[in-house]
């Protein structure tokens, strides 16, 4: 209570302090900005600037490698060209959509029951099995696409060998599986086959990833839900449909979003499998490949940049649609 009076007696003494001391004393104020600054410096130079530069490029025509002053402003001509005239671009978009669906849908259709089965019926061996399914995800897509190219070759590929053997199984002179499996070696390089092949490689790479995502979501579903259902007499498959699937919805939304975004950028697998050409009749050329080839083979950086922005908007729109359809309703 006497604090006020005594406070007045104290003279305000403050030692002379160096700038370093004073900076250090308030370190907690400026240090966080310093700590996050590497990200922003790097992003400004190698993230933001390239994006802005890319917009600039997409409005110009000419060979940018010689310096941007050699380029000529063409307005939206690159975009208009892509919309109206670039048949290969249209083809590449169709290919991308086809590949995205053909590799994407099976990923989820298989990953969900697989994750459920791993979750419910595996104990000791679970991690090993998950590892087997997951390892494609972390391996070099280039290396493994090359290996797949050899496995898929027409005359000596292991895959043709297995498929035709199944297709040629004879029972009393019939070939009961012949309608489903080929009886002769398939030339996977032909336009109608190259897409399934690419789709399979992409599926192979990502199915384990999705399984792991779903598995981690299933592990968060409370056990007592299943116990209650068991008491209520629900069989395992009923539990799957009435408990697991509804509870998985947020993860399905998330995983599907990742697949959409990833598949629409598909580049490495088709690039390697088609030897960087897009394949016969460009049947295996994706939009991202088209972008690369337009820029680095044809040297048309302006059009290529326009491709990248169009592709970006397509991805954005599809992600938004996915959000509308699968996303949580407020």
């Amino acid at each position: 209570m006497s604090a006020v009076e005594s406070a007045e007696k104290i003279p305000a003494v403050s030692k002379k302090r160096s700038l370093k001391q004073r900076l250090n004393a308030k370190g907690y104020k400026w240090a966080p900005y310093l700590f996050v600054s590497p990200f922003f410096v790097l992003f400004a130079v190698f993230g933001l600037f390239p994006l802005l530069f890319s917009i600039y490029l997409s409005l110009h025509y000419g060979d940018a490698t010689g310096g941007i002053d050699r380029m000529e402003f063409v307005g939206l001509a690159n975009y208009i060209y892509l919309f109206r005239d670039d048949a290969w671009f249209h083809q590449s978009l169709i290919n991308t959509g086809w590949l995205a669906l053909a590799s994407g849908i099976p990923q989820h259709v298989i990953a969900i029951p697989l994750a459920f089965f791993l979750h419910t019926s595996f104990k000791k061996t679970r991690n090993t099995v998950i590892g087997a399914y997951f390892v494609p995800f972390i391996t070099s897509s280039v290396a493994i696409s090359l290996v797949f190219t050899s496995l898929f070759s027409r005359d000596f590929g292991v895959i043709n060998m297995i498929l035709t053997q199944i297709g040629n199984v004879e029972i009393f002179g019939f070939q009961p599986l012949g309608w489903l499996f080929p009886t002769e070696n398939v030339d996977w390089a032909r336009p109608q086959y190259i897409k399934p092949m690419i789709a399979f490689v992409v599926f192979w790479r990502f199915v384990g990833w999705n399984t792991v995502l779903y598995l981690s979501a299933m592990q968060t579903i409370p056990k007592d839900l299943y116990e209650a259902a068991t008491v209520d007499g629900a069989k395992p498959w009923q539990q799957f449909f009435y408990i697991t699937l509804p509870q998985l919805k947020p993860m399905m939304f998330f995983a599907v979003t990742l697949t959409i975004i990833g598949n629409l950028q598909m580049f490495e697998e088709p690039f390697i499998i088609t030897g960087g050409t897009g394949g016969i009749e460009q049947a295996g050329k994706t939009a991202a490949m088209h972008l690369y080839l337009t820029a680095f083979t044809e040297g048309d950086f302006g059009t290529a940049s326009a491709v990248s922005w169009l592709l970006f908007f397509i991805i954005a729109i599809l992600t938004w649609l996915n959000n509308k359809i699968l996303g949580e309703k407020d």
Binding site: S2, S6, A7, I10, A12, S14, A25
Partner: protein, 363 residues
């Protein structure tokens, strides 16, 4: 060692003012406890002194130096945290020595001081262990050792015992007390536990909503609460407060009146405060020239061991009495009315507007 002075200290978080004009002078070597319910601003005040929280307004002096702009290290203080905040990747020894190492004390001196502190706190056999291999009490002592070796001018404690079980808390409390007696370092101690405050403090500062509700010795605070908040906050079970009228030195509660031994200004709307522990069934147990009597409706009686806990109602307010089991009068009655006696020198009066204590006239 040094005195500490807070002058018109304020702390705002955005729009809300958590500490509102805090003034306090702590004498050199004094042990001061900041006590209050959670959210009263006690920890914030301590953290401003420590240099861990920006000061919105006002000044803090340690000794004669204004420390507002100083780095925590430059303030020459040491702090014991609620969670102890021991570095998990360092041994006990490294934990204690870390602050000295950072301030570039030479190796032999570090060695000497660590040994001294370890001996004093009985940590010597534990020096090479890691914190996770220590019990709660041992961790607590390491945290104190870490603060001690710095030979700070001021010790800060932020709820240091709240993570311990009740038994350990008692012995650690004694240890802190004896440490303070040995070292004589100025100490500011924050807690929400009134037992800690009463047993440790030279002076207690009770905070409420960012204001100082009362400053005083534990005895002052218990016996002369400055307002209703302090009166009910200190002491368990809390003080009974009954609406009353003060007229001609008489307290009028409904039909009942008490003649006070001292003179007061008349007050139409006030509250009479009596601590449950000041109540007796037997007037002979009280040694006083002025004994008061109130008749209370009984709602229930519980035997708590050393005391009977009588719950009752008086003039519409809850009225509780703790009667010693040794009181000769037999407590068997479960309902009806009971007469309770008390020393009239030990009652408290508060005005009902501001809640401040009404002091007797001094003439």
């Amino acid at each position: 060692m040094a005195a500490v002075t807070f002058s018109n200290l304020k702390k705002r978080f955005g729009e809300t003012e958590v500490v509102k004009s805090f003034d306090l002078h702590i004498e050199d070597g004094e042990f001061v406890v900041l006590l209050g319910p959670s959210g009263c601003g006690k920890s914030t005040t301590l953290r401003m002194l420590a240099g861990l929280e920006e000061i919105s307004d006002g000044e803090i002096f340690i000794g004669e130096e204004l420390v507002n702009e100083l780095h925590p290290m430059e303030r020459n203080i040491a702090m014991v945290f609620q969670s102890y905040a021991l570095y998990p990747h360092m041994t006990v020894k490294e934990n204690i020595a870390f602050g000295l190492k950072m301030t570039k004390v030479d190796k032999d001196e570090i060695e000497r001081r660590v040994k001294l502190a370890a001996d004093m706190l009985e940590l010597t056999p534990l020096l090479d262990r890691f914190p996770k291999a220590l019990s709660g009490g041992q961790r607590q002592r390491v945290a104190m050792g870490r603060a001690m070796v710095r030979t700070p001018e001021v010790f800060l404690f932020d709820e240091p015992l709240s993570n311990l079980d009740a038994k350990l808390r008692g012995s650690m409390r004694a240890e802190i007390k004896s440490l303070h007696e040995k070292l004589g370092t100025t100490t500011l101690y924050v807690t929400h536990d009134q037992v800690e405050a009463m047993t440790l403090a030279d002076r207690v500062v009770i905070l409420k909503d960012g204001f100082i509700a009362q400053v005083g010795t534990p005895k002052d605070i218990f016996e002369q609460p400055a307002n209703k908040f302090v009166a009910t906050f200190i002491g368990a079970p809390e003080m009974n407060l009954v609406n009353a009228k003060l007229e001609d030195n008489q307290v009028i509660i409904g039909e009942q009146t008490l003649a006070l031994p001292t003179t007061y200004q008349d007050q139409a709307d006030c509250a009479l405060g009596v601590r449950p522990s000041d109540l007796y069934l037997n007037p002979r147990a009280i040694e006083s020239d002025a004994i008061g009597k109130l008749t209370v409706n009984i709602d229930g009686i519980e035997l708590l061991g050393a005391t009977y806990h009588i719950q009752g109602t008086l003039n519409g307010s809850r009225f509780v009495a703790d009667i010693a089991t040794s009181d000769e009068t037999d407590v068997t009655q479960e309902t009806g009315e009971v007469e309770l006696f008390f020393d009239l020198h030990r009652v408290h009066l508060f005005d009902n507007q501001e809640g401040n204590a009404i002091r007797p006239n001094l003439n």
